[in-house]
């Protein structure tokens, strides 16, 4: 599509131009959220950079470099290699199934020698890339054709099934919801969602019976009634609510959270880090973090709306949606609105792969911004 190239003055940007065009305000917002995370990890370490805060800072630094690297790579490169990346992520997921490292009762990691990788995290971004590319190639009217939807449905369901088997219900849920969001944004008809919803509702009893592990069923039951088992499985939910509620409006003060520092709060450096923030900084602290998140989401959405190709739009909106799902599920979980599922608080919880995945994701979002005026044809060969 030579025509597209003519209309695109930014097709060959220098690195300097691209860096100048990076949405630095978004990067700053990401840094601020990560900064909140560092402070909370410092507190979780009982006022010490080790063992969590320092390592998290290192990872964030690395992730930031990665983010910029991803951002300056031409959006068309990501378009071309979307399926390849998806295939790699899928292979890694299968590798987990075959030769994964068992940790905390689940098989989620592959050992790459240098570090342990959680392929289900990578799959989140890879799937968004693949779906964005697929829907990019589909004309608006083609969206209505059911057979054409079978391919993206399979692209979603295969990794989801693999992740459920690990078992990692939280991530599986997250991946399928992001995918669902993309289907929606791509223009799949309303009635198909209604049908899908009906199907899901119908499948719940079956899934309960055959798909869910005993501990997963337990978690749902405990969510429905945590006080039944206050010292056993309901302990997390109750202690989290106590910590949150006792924080009050202004909190107990930095490093002063009794629930967190006296170990009543489990997993305070990972899934329950928001509870710790709530305990030490109260409602005000929570609102500040939510405000930062909201700003990031708004930026992401604005970039999606501004993009000139469906691929970039779907990519930016998809990453933003995943980000939202992360934070919503995590916060809803620690406040007792959702059952306890292992979903970290994005950019704040301690954890390497999740943070890198998100930063790569935002790298792609920024790449969409930097290359916002790049027009792409419907077929993959637009750039020769």
């Amino acid at each position: 599509m030579a025509l597209g190239r003519e209309f695109d003055p930014r097709e060959r940007l220098s690195l300097g131009q691209k860096l100048a065009d990076v949405n630095w305000l978004l990067v700053l917002l990401l840094c601020l959220v990560a900064g909140v995370g560092f402070a909370m990890l410092y507190s979780a370490g009982n006022g010490s950079y080790s063992p969590w805060a320092s390592r998290q800072m290192l990872r964030f630094g690395l992730g930031l470099v990665l983010l910029l690297g991803v951002a300056v790579v031409d959006i068309r490169f990501w378009y071309r290699h979307a399926y390849v990346l998806y295939a790699v992520a899928l292979l890694l997921l299968v590798a987990v199934e075959v030769a994964g490292v068992v940790g905390m009762g689940a098989r989620r990691w592959v050992d790459l020698g240098l570090f342990q990788l959680q392929p289900s995290e990578l799959m989140k971004v890879a799937l968004i890339l693949a779906l964005a590319r697929y829907f990019h190639g589909l004309a608006h009217e083609d969206i209505g054709r059911l057979p054409l939807l079978l391919v993206p449905a399979a692209m979603t369901l295969v990794p989801v099934a693999l992740v459920v088997r690990q078992p990692d219900l939280g991530t599986a849920l997250l991946i399928s919801m992001s995918a669902l969001g993309l289907f929606f944004l791509a223009g799949v008809r309303w009635w198909k969602f209604a049908l899908g919803l009906a199907g899901v509702v119908g499948a719940v009893p079956l899934a309960w019976q055959y798909l869910l592990h005993e501990y997963q069923r337990q978690r749902v039951l405990i969510f429905l009634n945590p006080e039944n088992d206050p010292l056993g499985a309901g302990y997390h939910a109750i202690q989290s609510k106590i910590a949150l509620g006792s924080g009050g409006l202004f909190g107990k003060g930095f490093l002063q959270g009794t629930q967190s520092h006296l170990n009543f709060l489990p997993e305070r450096q990972t899934d329950f880090i928001f509870t710790m923030l709530a305990e030490e900084f109260g409602l005000v602290g929570c609102l500040v973090l939510l405000g930062l998140y909201l700003a990031i989401l708004a930026y992401g959405l604005a970039i999606a709306l501004r993009a000139r190709s469906q691929f970039a739009r779907l990519l930016a909106a998809g990453v933003t949606l995943t980000f939202f799902l992360y934070l919503f599920i995590n916060i809803a979980m620690v406040t007792g609105l959702l059952p306890v599922v292992g979903v970290p608080l994005p950019l704040v919880s301690y954890g390497g792969t999740a943070m890198l995945t998100l930063l790569i994701g935002f790298g792609l979002v920024i790449s969409c911004y930097v290359h916002r005026d790049v027009a792409m044809g419907l077929r993959p060969d637009f750039d020769g």
């Binding site: 223009g187 509620g245 924080g247 170990n263 999606a304 469906q310 919503f328």
Partner: protein, 624 residues
């Protein structure tokens, strides 16, 4: 590009919708947080505090028990301990090896400590050694810097300096049993000890004191982070006994391995100066924890060391009871001092013959009441009992404290038994037989008494007929002492009491007294009465052979030897009762009683001089 415009419009619409959805979910989150952190904040703050704060009880030091002169008979000794906290040592084996060089640690103890360390949570200390000597304790403290994870502390452990000599009075403390839990939190402390027997049990609430408390901040694993507030408890009150621990110790030594019980009372106050039961046991063993083997040895011992025979041993009083029969007769106006009976050695009732102990010598001949007591004539008292009837005798016995649990501050005291017609009918369904009245007249048959009751009886005879009650706790320090009411009179005529006392004087000091050999040396006279309680009926064949010889009879079948005494005879101050199980005759108990009373008087500074030679011979070195 038109196609893309369609897609773009659709995307924009749907993205806006999705954004709005996200915004409303944000609203839900904020609403939820407002609810938890503002509306319900108070409730969760309370819950968080409850999580965080633990109330720890501080055990108060237990009150001491002192004898009448202030000597400690039960106190708390410092217990030097060495503890090891697993998480503070990298190499427990090496630490233990270093400790073993300072403190005596058998290999099996080291194995036990290492096993316990693996089982416990790493921050909970394991006790390595207890009851160290001061030298060992100081040695460990000096080398603490090179002993990682080791720390020392000083606990308290109950100690009984007199060992088995006062155990039947003081009792002992031991770990709280399931049944003893009352809901008082102090009792649930590990290592808490409460009184199980004796004064330790009776005065438990006063000795225990009040628990202090310490509010501590704990983490989810129960580890103490810091102390927030501390409230000291109140130590237990000290208790003072009426007992003279040195006299007690002397008495225990004198009775030795006999299965015997002796009680010494002040006749005016009822204060127990000494009360022994032999053999005894070591009260500290119960505190430390007794092995099953040691427990069996104590419970299966034929001479029953765990039983306080002075309060729980029930014996027929034998002839010691005759004073009360005489008093019952005089009090009822049935027979006066001049009542005469001829003793030919036996008395027939129906077709049964009742013998006098002097039967083989042909009886006592004519006797008046005082002679009958002095010579302990059985026939005289058969006759008297028959005239008076068992119910009047029993009434008199009750007035002297028999047949009821004495109100002494001890556990396990028994009531004995004073039979009446109604009692026999109720228990056996058979009417009372006159022959049973006869043998009750000489203190045999159904009647049972404890040595303490006999001492109280003797005190009431000696003090002019006043109903003193025995006391073993003089006071509880820090408490207002209850005013001691002067004991009520038993309402007996002075003449009758004088006759009985003269009779008892004669038993020891008269020409024909049954305990002539027990007369004290020196100016002070002791009065008393012998008693011999049959364990088994004497058979006709034995009587035909002229009585049985002690040497021929197995120990368990020999008679119990009893003696009650008071001194000085003319101005009584001390009463004593002695029972030697299977000890032969009352005369042999009288000889031991002589030594007891001599020692009691020797310890009374006002009377030491009057004791003469014997007191001089027994130096203070033998006192205790």
């Amino acid at each position: 590009m038109d196609r893309d415009a369609d897609r773009r419009r659709s995307f924009t619409r749907r993205a806006a919708l999705l954004g709005a959805g996200q915004l409303s979910l944000f609203g839900a989150l904020i609403g939820r947080m407002y609810y938890l952190q503002v509306e319900e904040a108070d409730q969760y703050q309370i819950l968080a505090e409850e999580n965080r704060i633990n109330l720890r009880l501080l055990a108060p030091p237990r009150g001491r028990i002192l004898d009448r002169f202030g000597a400690e008979v039960a106190h708390n000794r410092r217990n030097f301990r060495v503890l090891l906290t697993p998480e503070q040592t990298d190499d427990p084996n090496q630490t233990m090896a270093r400790l073993a060089a300072i403190v005596n640690l058998p290999d099996e103890e080291i194995v036990r400590v290492l096993r316990e360390m693996r089982r416990q949570r790493p921050f909970i200390s394991v006790t390595v050694a207890e009851n160290l000597t001061w030298e060992e304790f100081a040695g460990v403290n000096v080398r603490l810097p090179e002993l990682a994870g080791v720390h020392t502390d000083v606990g308290q452990v109950r100690h009984y300096p007199f060992g088995d000599r006062l155990s039947h009075i003081v009792g002992y403390v031991a770990a709280v049993s399931e049944q003893e839990l009352t809901g008082e939190p102090l009792l649930e402390l590990p290592n808490f000890r409460i009184g199980k027997v004796g004064v330790e049990k009776v005065l438990e609430t006063k000795l225990r004191g009040r628990a202090g408390s310490s509010r501590v901040e704990v983490n989810a694993y129960g580890r103490i982070i810091r102390e927030l507030r501390r409230q000291e408890g109140e130590p237990g009150h000290d208790a003072v006994l009426t007992v003279d621990s040195e006299l007690q110790g002397w008495l225990m030594g004198r009775l030795g391995e006999e299965s015997a019980a002796a009680v010494v009372l002040d006749v005016h106050t009822g204060e127990v100066l000494a009360m022994t039961s032999t053999p005894s046991y070591d009260p500290g063993a119960f505190n430390r924890g007794l092995s099953a083997k040691a427990w069996r040895a104590l419970t299966e011992h034929p001479r029953k060391p765990l039983v306080n025979k002075a309060t729980a041993g029930q014996y027929p009083p034998g002839s010691v009871f005759k004073m009360l029969v005489a008093l019952a007769a005089m009090d009822a106006g049935i027979a006066g001092p001049g009542h005469r009976v001829f003793c030919n050695g036996k008395m027939r009732l129906g077709n049964h013959t009742f013998h006098c102990w002097r039967d083989k010598y042909g009886g006592h001949g004519w006797l008046e009441m005082q002679d009958a007591i002095e010579q302990s004539c059985d026939v005289y008292f058969y006759d008297l009992a028959k005239r008076v009837g068992v119910d009047r005798i029993s009434d008199m016995a009750q007035r002297f404290g028999l047949g009821q649990v004495p109100p002494v501050e001890l556990t396990g005291a028994r009531a004995g038994l004073v039979p009446t017609r109604a009692w026999k009918l109720a228990i056996t369904g058979k009417p009372w037989q006159q022959g049973e009245t006869l043998i009750t007249g000489i203190g045999q048959g159904y009647i049972l008494t404890t040595p303490l009751q006999l001492a109280v009886m003797t005190a009431r005879l000696a003090n002019g007929g006043f109903a003193v009650e025995p006391r073993i706790v003089r006071s509880v320090l820090g408490e207002a002492a209850a005013p001691v009411a002067s004991p009520p009179s038993l309402g007996l005529s002075a003449a009758a009491l004088k006759l009985v006392r003269d009779g008892m004087d004669g038993v020891v000091n008269g020409k024909r007294g049954t305990a002539r050999k027990a007369a004290l040396d020196g100016e002070i006279r002791m009065a008393g009465k012998t008693g011999t309680a049959q364990v088994r009926r004497i058979t006709k064949a034995e009587r035909a052979k002229g009585g049985k010889l002690a040497e021929d009879t197995p120990w368990e079948e020999r008679d119990h030897a009893l003696f009650v005494a008071y001194a000085p005879a003319d101005a009584p101050r001390y009463a004593a009762a002695l029972v030697i199980e299977h000890g032969g005759s009352g005369a042999s108990a009288a000889l031991v009683s002589k030594e007891i009373m001599t020692e009691v008087l020797r310890r009374d500074p006002q009377r030491r001089a009057a004791l003469g030679r014997l007191a001089g011979r027994l130096g203070p070195g033998q006192a205790g």
